[in-house]
């Protein structure tokens, strides 16, 4: 299938996803469930990855900036800006594309091949909207919190690294992460996160929804969902950076 055909099907699916829900109360309940499934269940992995990456960024910056001309607090500043500008939004987005994206594509794909989606349609329910809209909303609402958690925990990770290795004085690190702080960087990261959340959920759901065949095809569609979400995240990163920071 060529690009235009796939994109056309994606747009048709999104039109169905964003059509009027059968019962708002049920959709709200589903969205809350999805916040738990897709959001709260991802807090653990985001914390673990962020704490280590925060530590590694701090140490790498320290070892690559060994010059008496450069003040040590700049290491804290560099670690902070790396986390705020790129890691906590884009890297976490890519990680979630793997975790949440594969989960969504395989869940919806399995529902397709076991005729559960047909069963919903036969009941007169808009299956696309019922299955996909709560996931999109849940991710767009909760992922910004994951990004904020990642920023905070990443900075803590850098601080732990500083204390445990003695790479630089703790006071320099603390001063550095507060130095020349630009609040707009957080807005920029959160806007990116919301866009990534839409990409991850809608693209993965698209590949799951149109799966045909058996378990093998569900696996393939899951992989496709993750790969294309990741590529689109990087593309969106480029576009949003140009739009918001240039």
């Amino acid at each position: 299938m060529n690009f235009f055909s796939i994109f056309g099907r994606y747009l048709i699916l999104m039109t169905r996803v964003f059509s009027k829900p059968e019962k708002h109360r049920i959709y709200l309940r589903q969205t809350i469930k999805e916040i738990e499934n897709l959001g709260l269940n991802s807090v653990g992995i985001v914390i673990i990855i962020s704490i280590f990456i925060g530590a590694v960024i701090t140490l790498q910056t320290r070892y690559n900036l060994e010059s008496s001309w450069i003040p040590l607090y700049l290491i804290g500043l560099t670690a902070r800006d790396t986390l705020l500008l790129e890691f906590s939004s884009t890297m976490v987005g890519l990680i979630l594309a793997g975790k949440v994206g594969s989960n969504i594509a395989s869940e919806i794909g399995t529902m397709r091949i076991t005729e559960q989606i047909d069963a919903l349609e036969m009941m007169g329910i808009n299956s696309a909207s019922y299955l996909i809209l709560p996931k999109i909303l849940a991710a767009m609402v909760f992922n910004p919190f994951l990004t904020l958690i990642s920023m905070f925990v990443g900075l803590i990770g850098g601080w732990f690294a500083v204390i445990l290795t003695g790479a630089l004085p703790s006071s320099d690190y603390i001063y550095g992460i507060q130095y020349l702080f630009i609040p707009f960087y957080i807005t920029y990261a959160l806007v990116k996160t919301v866009v990534y959340a839409f990409i991850i959920t809608s693209v993965s759901a698209f590949y799951g929804y149109y799966v045909q065949g058996g378990a093998l095809e569900v696996g393939r569609s899951s992989t496709r969902g993750v790969v294309y979400s990741s590529i689109l995240i990087l593309l969106a990163d480029l576009v949003l950076t140009q739009l918001m920071l240039a």
């Binding site: 059968e22 019962k23 047909d118």
Partner: protein
């Protein structure tokens, strides 16, 4: 009553259904039989709108389903109950939640009323102790019963069953057949069943339609099948050695 008129369907240039015209009668179990790949499931999915037809009409009591828009079809589908081959129960919901699902989506009943209706339906399919179990904890026969309970919970006017006996032992298959037949007569609904199980045909086939290579090959009652001289139908019905011997013995007598 459901009337199918001159229905055609093809996939990627291959004709799957060719000029099918059938009337499914109200208050009867209408069976569609045929070999695997003959087009039975495609026919059923065309009738309920899960596949778009290439040509032809499907009338639900004189309402042309093919010409309806999305919303009109949604309304008709609320009058349809469907039992899928693999039961198609929602894995993340308990038995009770599965059966209650259509009520949650489309009615303003209180929780107590929904529970009562759910329990009536589960009781009707002789499944009273499984409300809190998940589909993964049920046997094949129990899953079919839950699926039937879910299909009838909104008092449908039409019931579609795709291979209701697939994967079941002969005894459980009989129980499911009887259940579908009883529900059909009790609620006076139009029931359409896809099957290639000859036990089902002889048990509950009030009207039987034989699909052969995409065409309607034969139509009659279960009693007519044994006397037919249709070669393709005889090939299908008496495919097993056991059935062949019975037929030979009948002819001998």
């Amino acid at each position: 009553m459901i009337r199918v008129e001159n229905l055609y369907k093809s996939f990627n240039g291959t004709d799957v259904l060719k000029d099918i015209s059938i009337t499914f009668e109200k208050g009867k179990t209408n069976l569609i039989i045929g070999r695997s790949g003959s087009g039975k499931t495609v026919l059923m999915k065309c009738i309920v709108g899960l596949h778009e037809v290439d040509k032809g009409n499907v009338f639900y009591n004189d309402r042309d389903f093919v010409k309806m828009d999305f919303l009109q079809r949604k309304m008709i589908r609320r009058e349809i109950g469907m039992l899928f081959q693999g039961s198609a129960l929602f894995d993340s919901l308990t038995v009770e939640e599965n059966v209650m699902f259509p009520l949650n989506m489309f009615t303003e009943m209180s929780l107590e009323e929904k529970r009562e209706r759910t329990n009536i339906c589960l009781c009707r399919v002789n499944l009273t102790e499984a409300n809190k179990l998940y589909p993964g904890e049920l046997s094949g026969g129990m899953k079919k019963r839950v699926a039937i309970a879910r299909a009838i919970v909104e008092n449908p006017r039409y019931l579609f069953c795709d291979e209701p006996n697939s994967g079941l032992d002969p005894k459980t298959a009989l129980v499911i057949d009887d259940l579908i037949s009883e529900i059909t007569h009790e609620y006076d609904i139009t029931t359409v069943i896809n099957t290639h199980d000859m036990n089902s045909v002889m048990e509950i086939g009030e009207k039987v339609i034989f699909i052969h290579e995409g065409y309607k090959g034969w139509e009659g009652t279960k009693e007519d099948i044994l006397d037919t001289d249709d070669e393709n139908l005889n090939d299908f019905v008496f495919a097993s050695n056991f059935a062949k011997k019975i037929k030979e013995r009948q002819l001998g007598e």
